[in-house]
Amino acid sequence: MKKSCIAMLLAGGQGSRLYALTQNVAKPSVPFGGKYRIIDFPLSNCANSGIDTVGVLTQYRPLQLNSYIGNGQPWDLDSSDGGVFILPPYLGAGEKGSWFTGTANAIYQNIGFIENYDPENVLILSGDHIYKMDYAKMLKEHLEKDAACTIAVLQVSLEEATRFGIMNVGENGYVCEFEEKPKHPKSDLASMGIYIFNWKKLKQYLEADAADPNSSNDFGKNIIPAMLNAGEKLWPYRFDGYWRDVGTITSLWDANMDMLSTTLINLYDPSWPIGARSPVCPPHYAGEHAQIIHSIITEGCEIDGHVENSVLSPEVVVEEGAKVLYSVLMPGAVVKKDAVVEYAIVGENTVIEPRAHVGAAPDGTDGWGVATCGPNITIRQGAVVPAAAMIYTGEEV
């Protein structure tokens, strides 16, 4: 079945800079913004953009991700001539085992999957960005510009540009140079890690790249520079909406706080629904002592304490006298009587016992940061978890 464009979603990253939150799960399945997990955003974008075939490349701790994605039904991706497919690394007859050695290698190893659909173009996505984007518009521009590769770019400040892969653009508007994290950026167009390739071209470059033992098999480091060197047409697709990389604790916390503002990213927009696989729970209950201000609360929560500037996932409990301020509480987290959680991320099913205190307000020092408790931890009665602390599952506090 011939397709105009299929998507390949790179979801194998360990997310090592999320530490305790990705100790046992892959980054794309980290809970986000109340009802979601990070991967809901690219999957929903695909469905809303009319892309009905998505290969999800997994590698690191994929169990939870696999069961979360399932048959793709929450995103309407359970179609009979497409759908969402989990693609783990695999072994062919007589081959030595090999993990995906890089982003390009992950696609290279799945050439067979892609060829099944005989697509004109392949959209490459990563599973760690929060944004709403119509890939159909990007594809249209890709075809209009007759590009071998179109790269989604975001305008950033020149200071920020040093943290990104930067596209330098020639007079004709096509990309003429790519610099990874330049010290002295010549342009403010940052790559968002979203590519549409002409599949025939990409296949050539993937095969050449695989044959090169010195390559690190990475799109940004190898494939894009190789295409530029060969004089291929690379087009920058300018995106000006909300986009956040949530690869670090601070950026994950920031992006969650952004969800409290509907002007940054509107999740209530019926024309661009973000789907999620969520448990069916009773509506949340606000008790006699509840105070809920400027916060997101989700089904199954039971709130009898004070919640302010916070994002609560399903089935979170905040008991009477407890305070939750500027925090992200993942599914099933429990904050018991008179405990305080501030400027913190609390993992799934972690229990904060009475009078414990997690996190602290910013004090202007460099050592300050968001406190993080991984999933399935019990923070004992009266315990203090300081700012910037990182508590792993299995630790006793």
């Binding site: 789907g275 009773p282 509506p283 809920i292």
Partner: protein, 370 residues
Amino acid sequence: MRKYQGIIFAYREEPELRELTANRTAASLPFCGRYRLIDFPLSSLRNAGVLDVGVIMQRDYQSLLDHIGSGKAWDMSRRSGGLRMLPPFGLPQYHNGNYNGTMEALNAVGSYLRDSSAENVILMLGSVAANIDLAAAIQKYEESDADALAICMDHDPMGVHHRFNVGPDGYVNGLNLYRRGAGDGLPSLEAYIFRKDILLELMDYCRANNHYLFHRDAITLFLSRGGKMTVYVHEGYANSIRSVEEYYQVSRDMLKAENRRQMFPVGRPVRAKTHEDVSTYYGETARSVNSLVGDKCIIEGDVENCIIFSGVHVAPGAKLRDCIIMKGCDVGEGAELSCVIADKACKFSPASVLIGSPKLPTVVPKGTEI
């Protein structure tokens, strides 16, 4: 081969539910912030592993069809068996008018019952708020040598009901029809398990003799013939909903933690269609006390003792007391509502005031703009 099949009676139009059932049956009444009443019997059946279920409908079933869909939410979208919607196309004489009673409704879907190889049938009402542990009831039924089992309540319900007298041997020895308040025996929850061949025989007898009521005719006949019926007592919340007053009362009962614990016990989840994937946002000026609030709401006003369904906007300065506000309603700035049941998608303009009384809540029909 599956041993049990379920039948849910979802055809009833309860006149005392007034505007609330103008375009729907009692079984598809929105309940507890995100459910429909029929989610409870469907979930009870699903949680007991009964996946072959027929839903008997008659009129105004569009909303029921929309809600139930293929039955996927209850794992009843099966290659073989699964959920069957049974609209009134069984026999020519039922094309017009209402079913006169349960036996007539059963006879109209007789072929559905006969076609299934299940040996036992579980009969349930679509409009009872209860999370029944059917697996436990089935176990009791199988451990007895009874041909039928009646599920009863452990408390006296609000309205008219039937009661079973139970002998020392644990079998029913009498039926007291149309009782109110306390009395002899156990109040029926109107959920039954029957050996199918016996139920089919009762159906044939009722059709031949122009009888159509389940309790007055069929059960009385069954007992008078010496039929063995055992009883399973459902411990926990249970109330049928047949009037606006009952709907209001039962809804508000869900604000009590103990009732919620009984209605949503761990291990027997209430399954329903998922339609909202956005959480609820509380604004800077929000206040929400002793209330149940669904997802995708924007709460900026003051809400107390309320049940708010999904997708409701309560603007700043609005004050809601003892209200039930269904999906998609919009309450304007400074509006004041007290003891109001607002059906889906109502709009209350800024500063509007609507006050009902706790005994007689004001019902605002679907889509009304005030």
